[in-house]
Symmetry: C2
């Protein structure tokens, strides 16, 4: 996929220059120095040749078709250059030039025009405002970053060009191989989703790494990410996570960043490994590129120093992994190969004077042992330590069945060892904690890969009825759906809702109450009144027709006095709810990722303790239960502190129905069932109150 | 302090050897190669000279007094060597040899004997089982680690010898200077507290760094740490924090590690900067050693790349610091010095082609601006970037008034710049997040240094009465103090406690009730019965003398039937408590750090949400209030969600009284006031129930 861009045969460089240091010169030089095997065509009207290559005035003068055109000229000339490139048959255009969307509306319009031109010609556009791209396996450095990485297994896409140069510089120093490196720039056409898909289908790419500040289409990206993660690891650093970071993001790229919580949910669900820091991004990528996935989370630690072994053990526990102990017979066999003072407990301490053979014996024992899923090897440079030989010895006994992550701690003395490790595909970290963090990401990803098949239950519902209610609201321009209509919607999706009806006079109110049975509650219906209780708009526990009539008349008088301008839509007369545990289920629609479900226990648990969880819709039964379990207060639902256990499956069921409703109706922008009353196991939870807000347009946002 | 050890004139090396690679050879070689100016005296009965130095059979044969004796011979000969050393006048002995406490009880006894010998001779003992020590300013490498660090400002003590070698190797590569490096080994005599104190008084030490697995005397250490932190930063990595880490710690050093939560409280209170990882330890140490403390937490970010600027801004916000914006006039002045496309917002983006002058202009602007407390400078290697010149330009404009932390991202291309930075005392980090984490530690430490003077209130109490109650319990071997006596203790410390008394017959129970006033509660008193309510041992809200008499008789019958063997100590008749908000205040005595106070809201907040805070006693009024505020549920005490606000000062007062009680009486091992009932502002909180457990011995633990 994207072959014309990633594997072109003929590359034009528009703006090629004879002056070293100029971008147009560097790109030509980098293509030549990087070992590009195809044709490089410098384009410059005022030069005959550049770096020994014949130069042309524009792309069409070359005479033969061009696959990829790399444009690096002042922004006002870019449009013409793109047109010429397309006329010369280019199926991919990379615009390096800056000065488009990021400088204002005029630039944005020019940028959109470039995308339209390419699209009309059936070509793809990378950039503008980018560093270019590299395909190490194709010998192509079509960027103005001078360093060409070794051909390797990690493909990188980055929304920051400068970060690409830092990554290249760092990878070169560490001898780390890359497959593709793409600076995605302003994303006028090709974006993160396109490259995610392209890298998924690229056999040379074993790990996908991304630095992103914004995501264009949340749902498209998540779908592509889930497909990608199902076959290879995807590690993303999403910057702009906090308010300040977000502010920087918008001033930097002019694009809107989604809320961080939605990113968290989306990444988690689609199997993306989220890196929190720049170092974590490549710490994880190295581990995934070099080692197999672990089958579980039991970690053996091998060390020649007690202290760092303890640090590693601390990290393993803090990461929620487990420090494994060797099985008895394997421990005994290993003990026979080590000095008496060594420890075969966990950490396995091969002692300060350990030679390469001791390390190999310990690594072999840990590989033999079925109670070990992953291995961390630590080395400190002591008097007798031979880092390079030890690295080779470890590499020599690897079986590729369990991940082995290494931390050679120190500086110059261990450097020869560190280089051997990278050369042997052993990921190496400057401190044990970093190795453990990378291993944690591996364990989580492996667990995601092992997840059960997702089956989203479809419940039989009365969809048409909801459609009618929503259409009626949209037609009359009402975005807030009042309680009676919201509860009708809930009923249509087979939520249990207390019986109730709207009354317009005192006597019909009494009739309704008599029909549904006493005691009843009464609530004023008016989209103009938010705080109903405070204005006397709510009455509870009315036991007789007289009480209902009195309440109706009093409500009318008081509301009319307090909010004379309010438009009243009647009084909702409803059966009193039986007591139950209050929980909240809700939905807010994220601009990037769509409907995001929320769960929490009612009242203080949501408002003071902020003990809530989120999950993107649609949701499966297992995921809904997991949502409940990941709140701290879940224990209360299970009956902690002498509370009655409640029907948690009923809540999970409500989350699934809610998921279906908000997936069916993109017009629903926000929805709160607050509270949902939950009773003991076997009873159905009851929608005590519901609020729905429709999106501004009434259509899909 | 410890001058004989840290700055000796004459050093004997017992076990000096002619064989390279042997520890006794390496130490002599390291002393010579490190540039030691004093006398080095090799001791070996079977050699005449070693590395050109005349050799002696034992220390006493040298003829002149020895200051420091470094012993590296098999463990069975160590005692004799120590005796000879002391006989030769050594005031400090460093035993490198392993095979003592860490191998078992016999080794522990031999180790204790070495300490006794030294102590009797008025000498100090370092080790055994250590790497030795280095004083870079004294040109002394009395260790078997070959690398001699540059003389610098950071002094290190480490409970892991291997970590010392890794630190040395790393410091050498980074050109980072050290003052002292001490491997503290088994700590038979000199321990972390001694070196903390010695480094505090050492003018060459500006930052104290420690790697510790255990702490011998918690209170001594904390006192020394507080003194140290009051004049210079103390950064500690405490390993063995989790269960697995702790297990590793005990097998490694044979010493008992305290609970992590107590370490957290102790470190926080005494101003110790706690590093969570090995990298963080030196990330912080570098920042403290090289830069001034910040006056506040407003951070300016200067970058030549948008992406890393966003990452830094994210980190700043996540760390709880603030991203600062330049003041208007300074921003305008800076704008005039930068290209039009640059941003003087925050991050300050000097653009990808930034030259050293642009960086200098931005750093100067941030230094000029009073709304900036600290500066983070980021550089990525782009086409026009000159890392070394940029490093020099930044260094050239530093005023030493605000901390400047730098992140030159990349590998080979930025390396010349990174070396310039270290040479100019600019702390440099491989990624912006690490710089921000170090800056956060600086801000927290600076805030601790600015903390108000601690004034612990002493309340007038009846101490003698508590003494009598405790003595009575200790004499009769009772460790559990029953409710009536526990409440007497509370009363003696002027806690408000409901009126109540113990009755032994139904009619005295009725008399007590009549005297204190109805309604009353009744509770069985017996240290043999834990779950009183379940056995019918608690009755509430009794309104008449008849009800009290009935309840007494029923209680006696039922308890006798259910637990015939229980020893009954009467029935406690007590005034019913008025309703109030339930909170818990308590104390548990940590083996390392002594009494640790606890606070939390009652019931689910403690048991399910684990929303509690800890603080070591004694506590000040401000600290007690801070304890309350650092729980999530604090908002409820302030009246969130329509709850009545309660008297928080009353709770803080209770914590202070509790602090005084448990400080006065080390015999109290545990104490729970659960619940303490708190009413609205102006009312006194009421001790509804209290439990006290005395320590096993009844004396100070």
């Amino acid at each position: 996929m994207l072959n014309e861009l990633l594997c072109p045969e003929t590359i034009a460089v528009v703006g090629a220059s004879r002056t070293p240091g100029k971008v147009g010169h560097e790109i030509v030089a980098n293509l030549i120095n990087g070992g590009f095997k195809g044709a490089v065509v410098p384009i410059n009207p005022s030069a005959d040749e550049i770096l020994g290559l014949p130069c042309h005035a524009d792309c069409t003068r070359y005479g033969k078709p061009i696959d990829l055109s790399v444009v690096a000229i002042p922004s006002k000339h870019v449009r013409k250059a793109v047109e010429d490139s397309l006329a010369a048959g280019a199926k991919a255009v990379c615009v390096i030039t800056a000065g488009f969307k990021e400088v204002g509306p005029e630039g944005a319009e020019q940028e959109a025009e470039l995308a339209r031109l390419c699209s009309a010609a059936g070509a793809r556009l990378l950039g503008p405002n980018c560093l270019g791209l590299i395909n190490a396996h194709h010998g192509m450095n079509a960027s103005f970053a001078a360093q060409m990485p070794r051909a390797g297994a990690i493909s990188v896409m980055s929304q920051s060009g400068a970060l690409c140069t830092a990554i290249l510089d760092w990878a070169t120093q560490r001898h780390l191989g890359l497959a593709k490196l793409v600076s995605i720039g302003n994303k006028a056409d090709l974006d993160e989703t396109d490259f995610l898909t392209a890298f998924t289908h690229d056999d040379e790419t074993r790990v996908i790494v991304g630095y992103l500040e914004s995501i264009g289409s949340g749902s498209g990206f998540i779908k592509a990410a889930e497909s990608a993660a199902s076959v290879k690891p995807v590690v993303i650093l999403k910057a702009g996570t906090t308010a300040a970071g977000w502010k920087a993001a918008s001033s930097h790229t002019g694009s809107l960043a989604g809320a961080d919580i939605a990113y968290g949910a989306a990444f988690r669900q689609s199997g993306i490994i989220r890196a929190d820091t720049f170092e974590a991004l490549f710490d994880c990528a190295m581990a995934f590129a070099m080692q197999p996935l672990p089958g579980g989370d039991r970690v053996a630690i091998i060390t020649n120093a007690g202290g760092p072994g303890i640090m590693a053990a601390d990290s393993v526990e803090q990461a929620g992994l487990h420090v494994a102990s060797l099985a008895g017979s394997i421990a005994t066999a290993l003990r026979n190969k080590l000095p008496a003072a060594a420890s075969v407990g966990n950490p396995i301490d091969v002692l300060g004077d350990a030679d390469p053979e001791r390390y190999a014996a310990a690594v072999n024992a840990a590989q033999d042992d079925e109670s070990v899923d992953a291995i961390i090897v630590i080395l400190t440079p002591q008097a007798m330590t031979r880092p390079a030989e030890t690295a080779r010895a470890i590499a020599g006994c690897l079986r590729g069945t369990k991940p082995v992550l290494v931390s050679f701690m120190g500086g110059r003395e261990v450097m020869p060892g560190r280089e051997e490790l990278v050369a042997s595909n052993l990921p190496d970290y400057p401190a044990p904690e970093r190795a453990v963090a990378a291993l944690k990401a591996m364990c989580e990803y492996a667990a995601w890969r092992r997840r059960p098949t997702r089956i989203v239950t479809r419940f039989p519902v009365n969809r048409r009825r909801v459609e009618r209610i929503i259409t009626r609201h949209v037609r009359t321009g009402r975005r807030q759906v009042g309680e009676p209509a919201a509860k009708d919607i809930m009923r249509a999706y087979n939520f249990a809702v207390p019986a109730g009806d709207v009354a317009f006079t005192a006597s019909t109110a009494a009739d309704v109450a008599t029909r549904i049975g006493f005691p009843v509650a009464m609530k004023i219906v008016s989209s103009d009144i938010v705080h109903k209780s405070e204005l006397g708009g709510v009455r509870l526990n009315l036991g007789t027709p007289e009480a209902v009539r009195d309440a109706f008349d009093l409500m009318m008088i008081r509301i009319a006095r307090a909010v004379p301008e309010a438009r009243l839509e009647g009084v909702y007369v409803e059966q009193m709810c039986p007591p139950g545990r209050e929980v909240i289920v809700g939905m807010t629609r994220d601009p990037q990722f769509g409907p995001m479900l929320m769960f929490g226990l009612g009242g203080i648990f949501v408002e003071v303790m902020k003990d809530v969880t989120f999950h993107l819709a649609p949701i499966t039964a297992g995921e809904a239960l997991q949502m409940l379990k990941s709140t701290k207060s879940y224990a209360l639902l299970e009956g902690a502190r002498g509370q009655a256990a409640v029907d948690v499956r009923g809540i999970a069921d409500a989350l699934q129905r809610l998921s279906q409703l908000v997936t069916d109706f993109p017009q629903i922008a926000e929805l709160d069932i607050n509270p949902l009353l939950v009773g003991k196991t076997g009873t159905e939870p009851l929608v005590a109150d519901a609020r729905i807000r429709l999106s501004q347009t009434g259509a899909q946002p």
